[in-house]
């Protein structure tokens, strides 16, 4: 939804999207870079001619800067286009959301609900197809029905039965009817059980990420030494999401124990958020530093940092988004991100500056590392996990950023050798559906 109070943040986003330097934009509209910096951090109000001038330089509608659309909504709308497809004008997403914020919100909400419903369908389908308890219950019902039908047919058949046989089959029908009643009740009770699972609004990972997002992925209680079990209880998540959060909180507490916040924040600032330098200074593993950087408090002036983790198959098990950066769980993420490249080079840290496609040509500095997880074992392939820390808008170095995207379906790059499927109509003329 629009937020009147964050015009400065939108100006900053637009400037970064277009790859423009702060000094250049400030000069174009006749203000100092430091004043533009204050505007971009929402410390100065803006309106009138200056807003119009900035809109002109940034090549956007003034209304878009003034009213704006939050990046989460835009990400969700673009994600919906990538996942669901059709003839969607993805390049005009922002315009749609700014002009019709209600419709934009509705599209984002519907995409969320569709994802949640798909997950519920998957849970139910798995339950029906693979659940041994359900298969056993159904088998019990069919067996009882079969025995009753067969015995009853004998009793009502045209041929004479002596009294002993009649009594035996009557008893059999009686016993099977009792068994059928019990197994039917058990089956109904079992089919009513999954409410707790189905009430969740997405995959367990998404439920946990939604919970962590409420506090900016920084959990003060764990930082202060609270028992992870107490935090878990307070979170009140159910089913598989509870198990995912439990594992996360125990890992978080272990990282806090090795890297207490005050010392870590100080070191981060000293080494300008360079994970390798911080790890070397504190004599701790690089992966731990990357995790802790994504857990820094959001209100202490640290730069925004995203973090994604995937397994050896590329399945995303953790996503902390930052403005301009997220990864789709469904629809297939762009394989060019160093997160995936690291999987082919375990133990080799990768530092890479990347750039999203125009017009949202946002740059990111990525630090990726793939390492085995779990205990080491002889003659068994390691279980690999890859992690990538993402810093938006890194200082310019003069080097050409590596091109990446969100998902092939909404990526305009025509000549990408890694394209796995055609783009939607109007996105990439030479790579359309």
């Amino acid at each position: 939804m629009p937020d009147q109070g964050l015009a400065g943040s939108r100006i900053r986003e637009k400037r970064l999207d277009r790859g423009l330097r702060q000094a250049a934009v400030a000069e174009s509209v006749g203000i100092s870079p430091s004043y533009l910096n204050l505007i971009e951090h929402n410390r100065r109000r803006i309106g009138g001619k200056l807003l119009a001038d900035l809109a002109r330089v940034l090549e956007v509608d003034t209304v878009l800067l003034a009213d704006g659309v939050d990046s989460d909504t835009l990400d969700q709308m673009r994600g919906a286009a990538a996942a669901i497809g059709g003839a969607v004008e993805v390049e005009r997403t922002e315009e749609l959301a700014a002009r019709y914020p209600g419709w934009g919100g509705l599209i984002a909400d519907q995409a969320r609900k569709i994802t949640a419903l798909e997950e519920k369908s998957r849970v139910l389908a798995d339950r029906i197809a693979y659940d041994p308890q359900l298969a056993g219950s159904l088998h019990e019902v069919i067996s009882a029905v079969s025995a009753i039908r067969s015995s009853a047919s004998i009793l009502v058949g045209p041929e004479e039965l002596d009294q002993d046989w009649q009594r035996r089959f009557h008893e059999n029908i009686h016993n099977d009817s009792l068994r059928l009643a019990d197994s039917s009740e058990a089956l109904i009770a079992y089919l009513e059980v999954p409410e707790a699972v189905l009430e969740q609004s997405g995959s367990p990972f998404e439920v946990v990420e939604s919970y962590l997002d409420q506090s900016g992925f920084h959990i003060s209680a764990i930082e202060d030494g609270a028992d992870p079990a107490a935090v878990l209880k307070q979170a009140d998540l159910q089913g598989p999401a509870e198990a995912v959060l439990r594992q996360f909180l125990h890992g978080y507490a272990a990282d806090v124990s090795a890297l207490p916040l005050a010392r870590f924040e100080k070191t981060c600032r000293k080494y300008h958020y360079d994970p390798a330098a911080i790890a070397q200074s504190l004599h701790v593993p690089l992966a731990m530093v990357m995790r802790r950087m994504a857990q820094l408090p959001p209100d202490q002036g640290h730069p925004p940092m995203g973090l994604v983790i995937c397994d050896a198959a590329g399945a995303l098990t953790f996503i902390k988004s930052v403005p301009g950066f997220t990864m789709p769980r469904s629809g297939g993420a762009c394989s060019l991100w160093p997160l995936f490249g690291a999987l082919s080079r375990p133990h080799q840290p990768i530092r890479l500056e990347v750039e999203m496609p125009a017009p949202n040509a946002t740059r990111f500095l990525c630090f990726a590392l793939a390492e085995p997880i779990g205990p080491a074992a002889f003659d068994a392939p390691p279980a690999l996990q890859s992690m990538m820390l993402v810093l938006p808008d890194p200082p310019e170095t003069g080097s050409v950023p590596y091109p990446v995207g969100l998902s092939c379906r909404i990526c305009p790059r025509n000549d990408c050798p890694s394209r796995r499927e055609p783009a939607l109509k109007g996105i990439a003329p030479q790579a359309e559906l």
Binding site: H139, S146, R149, S150, S153, I154, E159, F169
Partner: protein, 122 residues
Amino acid sequence: MGKRVLLIEDEPNIIEAISFILSRDGWTVHTHEDGTSAMDKVLAFPPDMIILDVMLPGRSGFDILRDLRGNAVTQQTPVMMLTARGQEKDRELAMRLGASLFMTKPFSNSEVRDHVRDLMEA
């Protein structure tokens, strides 16, 4: 003495009902309830025909069918699968493994009797 039918099934009341209708039709019916020792039973006293359930204690009817078709003694013995697992994939698997016929539960007594007659006469 009629030809021998071996019914491998673990539901007592289904065993009793099928035994009754086939005995009354002139067949000599032997029964066995356990999947693990089913092959031993078959080889100890080879029947003229087998009615085989799929979900048995200890061993699946599909595994037993595979063994039956791999053994020279029982390679040609007619086998009628009788199961609560009526999905198409189960039927395909049974026929691929060499079942003579695939019947699903609940069944009609007359159908069972007619199929046994057909398979014995084939």
